[in-house]
Every structure is written in C-alpha cells, then in structure tokens.
C-alpha cells in the first residue's frame, strides 16, 4: 500500500497534526513519574510494598476514605498483598461489623470475617462530606483508574504539599498542592515522617509511604493485573505461533494461484 499517494497522505497528516497539536506551555505542574514494578508487559506488584501500603491505608487513609468494593479476603488472594489466611482472619476480626437484623429484629455487631467488605468510615456519602468540611473523600477502590495519570498522579498529589506561593490566599481548611487540579485541596497533608511504624524495619519516610500506599491503591483498582499480564503473554505467544502456521498454510494453498497474497 505504498502506492496511490499513501506516503503523501502520511506526510500531510504529520504536518497537519504537528501544526495543531497543543503547545507544551501548560500551567499545571507535570506530575512525577515513578518506575513502578507493576508497569510493563510482565509487571508485578512488590509484595512487601503492598503489605506496607495496606498498613498506611489502614492507619491513615481509612479514617476518611472508604474502599467499599474490596473484601478482607482479597488481602490473601494471589496477585495481591498475599497475607496468610491467619493474618487475613486476624485483620478482619479486628474490625467491628454491624450485622442483622437477628431473629428479634435487632441489629447487632460482631467481629469481621474475611468475606466482609471493607468497613466504610462513614455511614453514607453525606456524612463523609459533612465531616470533611464540605469535600467528599472519594472511595479508593478504583481511584487509580479514575484519575488521568493513574498511579503517578496519586503519588504526585501525596508528594505535592508545599507552602502556597506568595500572594496566594487560601481559605481555612484548604491546602496548597503542587499537582492537584487548581492547586487547591481540602485534605491536609496526610503523610508525615514516621506516622506509621513498619514492622519490616523499612524507614517510614513520606516518599516511602507514598510509594507503598500508591502501590496498594493500584492493586486495589486492578486486583487482576498480575493475572492479566501473565495470561496476556501466553495468549499473544499462542496467537503469534498460530499466525505463523496459518501464514505458511496460506502460502501453500495459494502457491498454485498466479496472484500474490
């Protein structure tokens, strides 16, 4: 298909698109880029980072942010933090879950089970907005997939707390963030050095915690990621081999015909 001006067309398109593509002078600060272990064709989550990230979520984020689509059992499933069965049972049992109604029509509380969904910090969205100065702390189940830039964006926002530039006046309860859209955020800097104590001896710097919790949130949004990558490599290898076989068969079948395939 090099014939019939196809080349001219490609050239023309490149010129047109070069002419109209937006100039790079964007006001918004470019988000930070991290070389995540789970990117790429064979990317996998860092198991230890996932476990540490869960700790950060549990001890810091979960006081405001729900994760309503996850269950405690997910924490023990393959491709995730892979806590042991005992650990998952212990984690869920430490949460009080409201259940019922019982045979008397009363609601009651009981220790959580691995099959329970993550307990939300607020009974409903309005309660969470009321408790957070009018801003909704978004549910974190699919947050990474719900933001352009994904993992890098979440990490950037966590790292983007700074003093506002001179002349910028912020209302009470509003904070300056370098990477947030509009540079204003209603969440105060959630991470401070040593705000959590890692059991594996990793030093809990803000950068370390931001990376760990972003890894955890990336897994939460795409718990199938490792399975997807593994299956994908197999599927594509299979398809390439089959394509070669079919190509050779095609050459053989068409060999008697005076036309190119």
């Amino acid at each position: 298909m090099i014939k019939y001006n196809f080349r001219k067309f490609i050239l023309l398109s490149i010129i047109i698109f070069a002419f109209i593509s937006p100039s790079k002078s964007e006001e918004q600060n470019k988000i930070l880029k991290v070389d995540w272990s789970f990117k790429g064709l064979t990317g996998k989550f860092d198991r230890a980072a996932l476990q540490r990230g869960f700790q950060v979520y549990k001890e810091v984020c979960s006081s405001c942010h729900s994760m309503q689509y996850l269950s405690y059992r997910n924490l023990g499933e393959s491709g995730g933090p892979e806590f042991s069965t005992e650990e998952v049972k212990a984690i869920s049992a430490s949460i009080e879950i409201e259940d019922g109604p019982d045979s008397q029509g009363e609601m009651f509380t009981r220790p959580g089970r691995p099959s329970d969904k993550f307990k939300s910090p607020y009974p409903n969205v309005n309660a969470s907005i009321a408790a957070n100065g009018g801003a909704y702390p978004p549910d974190m189940s699919v947050l990474v997939k719900a933001r352009p830039g994904g993992s890098n964006y979440i990490y950037s926002v966590l790292m983007g707390y700074e003093d506002p530039p001179t002349g910028m006046i912020l209302d009470d309860g509003v904070y300056y963030n370098k990477y947030m859209t509009g540079n204003k955020i209603k969440m105060s800097a959630p991470l401070l050095d040593e705000i959590v104590e890692y059991s594996d001896g990793t030093k809990a710097t803000v950068d370390q915690m931001a990376k760990d919790v972003t890894t955890f949130l990336s897994w939460a949004a795409e718990p199938e990621l490792e399975d997807r990558h593994k299956t994908g490599v197999k599927v594509i290898i299979y398809l390439i081999l089959l394509t070669i076989l079919v190509y050779l068969s095609m050459r053989k079948i068409w060999s008697g015909i005076d036309s190119e395939v």
Binding site: I16, L239, V246, D258
Partner: protein
C-alpha cells in the same frame, strides 16, 4: 451462482436438502467465486463478523452478572471485575471490543470509498452497511452508558438533549426518551434493553449485507466486472477463508494487546467515578469513534443547526452512490479523485482530533473548516471530479492487469463486458 447444481451425496442429505436447501447454501458459500486479486483491505468483512460475534457472546455473559439500576450498576460492574471468574477478561474484551469493532468498520468503509465498492451494482450493499454502522453507533453509545460512571451519565445527557433541538416537540421527545425529567434510572433501564436488542438487529442486517454481496459478487482492487467463475476468481474456501483467518489472527494480536496490557487506554478515566447528577465533568467527551461527528455538532453555533449537520454528515453517505458521477470504480485509475480521497481522510481524522479538544480558539476554527470541507467533498468534489476527470486506462481482466496501448476506459469496459 456457482456454475453447477449441488446434489448431496448421501440419501439423508438429499432428503433434507429437498425440504430445506441448507446444504446447497453451504455449497454456495464454499464455492462462491471471489476475485483472486483481493488485497488485505478486503479481509475486514470477516474481521467484522468476528467482532460482532465476540460482542454478542461476551455481552450475553456480562448481562448475567450486570444489574441495570442506577444505584447498583456501578457496583455490579465492579462485582464483575473482582468476583466473577474471568469477569475482568470478559468485560475488557467487551469494552475494548467495541473500539476494535469501530476500527475495523472504519477501515472497511474507507476501503469501500477508495475502490468504489458503493457504486452500481452494489448500492444496496452499501446502504445496508450504513444501516449497520448507524445501529453500531446507537449500540455503542448505549453500552457506554451502562456502567453508570460520570462519562456514562453526562454523555447520555448531552446526546439525548440533542433531540430537544427539534422545534415544538423537542422537549416532549426528550422527556419521552428519558422516561423521566432527566437522565435517570428509567433511562438506564431502557438503554440496557435496547443495548441487548440492537446487536441482533445488526446480525440480521449482516445476513442481508452478505446476501446482497453474493448477488453481484465482490468488487476488487481493479474495480472491473469479472466473469464468475473464471481464471480471475478463486473459490471462497479454502483460498479466502485461510487468508481471512490469517488477517483475523493479526487483528486479534492487536486486540489482545489492548485487552491484556492497556485495557483502559481507550476509555475515559472519569467513567470510574460513579455517576453524579450534581457534578459536571470539566470536558464531556464521547468515545473516540464518535469524535468526528461530535466536532461537526460543536462547530455550529446554533443547536438545531449542529444537530442537523451532524446527522446530515452520516445521512449524506446514503446518497453517495448517486453523488459520485464517475463510472470508473477504483481510485487506482482515478488520479484526481485519489488526491481528494486522501484529503478527505485527513479531514475526517482532523475532525476527530478537534472533537477531543475543547471547542474554542484555533480548534473551533479548524473544526469549522473541517466541517465545511466534509460536505464540500460530497456535494461539490465528487460530482464535479467524476465528470471532468480523465481516468487512466482500465485493464480488461484481472489476469491482464495492463491494457496495452492505453485505450479509452469506456472501450475497455465494453470489451470487458464481452469477456
């Protein structure tokens, strides 16, 4: 259409075939004489059939787990992604499958435009194809609404609001479409119902599309009528089946690349935010395959005018066989039309890009230029070029690709009829 009558070998086969000639149909499909010079742009018919069946099969499975309710739809999609065995795979095939379906259909349509496959005697094939394309757009739009994310909700709001531009009865029609006074649960319910129905309508039209194709037979890159069967043709099986299979596999590799390694790159991240009627997204953008029409819609300052032009941009294709005045089908022998073909393709791509950009400044100006040119191509360029263009000599058959001496195209066509 095959040159010999088919008779089943077995007695039982003959008994059945006398009552319902399915075996004759099978033999016809197998022997169907196909031009031997078809290039790979002709493999997209088979690829599209694969796309349709993939969407139907994955869609039926998804419908077993999906809940069409405004309060539950988003959660049920997450349930599919997390708890249903291979639910993530089925959903990603279905959502990326829609994009692959449109990629294939656009290649199919632009192949037809280059080689003049819409011209006599294939106008009905072309029109049925456009009806399929229209239904595809309706199905894709409604399907995008079902996860009930922010883009679902606001996309549905923008598109259904287009009907309110109709004078006098517009608002009533919009309310009737919604089943409420805004996009709400009744809208989601009926969209689900229609989203399930439309693919089967498409399937029926595909049967008619292929039936209509089998009356005159395939067009081909040279664009001339050929005698069937002859040394210019090959039986559909095994020659075309194996070639289609090869092309389909290449297509599936790209498809798999999206599904397994960047399943969300063609979607919008806002659709992972649950629908919220109180918060409007900064930019409401449709899926990529609708962007050229979205650009045309927004390029007109008047709402009704925009809607009319947008639908006009699609419906003008229905009269394309009569707007193109050239008797020569293939652009290979039309040196002037060929230039305009590439300009038109660039114009459509540019409109698509403008549809993704905010409608302001240079983008709006270029979108307007692109819109005007889109219509000029059909209303002015095609009729005029067809009349004035001096076409290149046309070969008399596929086996003799070059006609010595460079005779008049009309003469070549006459000779060709006799062969």
């Amino acid at each position: 259409m095959s040159d010999h009558e088919y008779t089943p070998k077995s007695k039982a086969g003959k008994w059945f075939n006398d009552r319902l000639p399915l075996l004759t149909l099978g033999a016809h499909l197998t022997d169907y004489p196909t031009p031997k010079n078809l290039n790979y742009w002709w493999t997209f018919g088979g690829i599209l059939t694969f796309c349709l069946l993939t969407q139907i099969i994955t869609g039926i499975v998804l419908a077993m787990h999906y809940v069409a309710h405004a309060d539950l739809a988003f959660a049920s999609v997450e349930h599919i992604m997390r708890d249903v065995n291979f639910g993530w795979l089925i959903r990603y095939i279905h959502s990326n499958g829609a994009s692959m379906f449109f990629l294939a259909v656009y290649i199919h349509i632009f192949r037809s435009l280059f080689y003049g496959s819409y011209k006599s005697p294939r106008e009905v094939i072309w029109i049925i194809g456009l009806m399929i394309y229209l239904l595809m757009m309706a199905a894709a739009f409604m399907g995008y609404v079902l996860p009930w994310g922010q883009m679902s909700f606001w996309g549905a709001t923008v598109i259904t609001n287009l009907f309110s531009a109709i004078p006098l009865v517009g608002d009533s029609i919009t309310t009737w479409l919604w089943g409420a006074y805004s996009v709400d649960n009744p809208t989601l319910n009926r969209f689900f119902s229609l989203h399930y129905l439309i693919p089967f309508l498409i399937l029926g039209l595909v049967v008619l599309h292929i039936w209509a194709l089998h009356v005159p037979g395939n067009n081909n890159p040279v664009g001339i009528d050929i005698k069937k069967p002859s040394k210019d043709t090959v039986p559909f099986h095994p020659y075309i089946t194996i070639k289609d299979a090869f092309a389909l596999l290449m297509f599936m590799i790209i498809f798999a690349g999206f599904v397994f390694f960047s399943p969300n790159v063609l979607g919008h991240s806002d659709n992972y935010i649950p629908a919220n009627p109180l918060v409007t997204p900064a930019h409401i953008v449709p899926e990529w395959y609708l962007l050229p029409f979205y650009a045309i819609l927004r390029s007109v300052p008047d709402k009704l005018g925009g809607v009319v032009l947008m639908f006009g941009a699609i419906f003008i294709l229905f009269v394309l066989p009569w707007l193109d005045t050239s008797k020569v089908r293939s652009a290979v022998f039309r040196p002037i039309y060929r230039q305009f073909y590439w300009i038109f393709l660039a114009d459509v791509l540019m409109l698509g890009y403008m549809g993704a950009m905010p409608a302001e400044g240079i983008y709006l100006i270029l979108a307007r230029v692109g819109t005007i040119y889109y219509f000029l191509h059909f209303i002015v360029v095609l009729p005029v070029v067809g009349l004035l263009e001096k076409t290149d000599p046309i070969p008399m058959s596929i086996s003799e690709p070059v006609l010595s001496g460079g005779a008049e195209p009309s003469l070549a066509k006459k000779n060709n009829d006799k062969i």
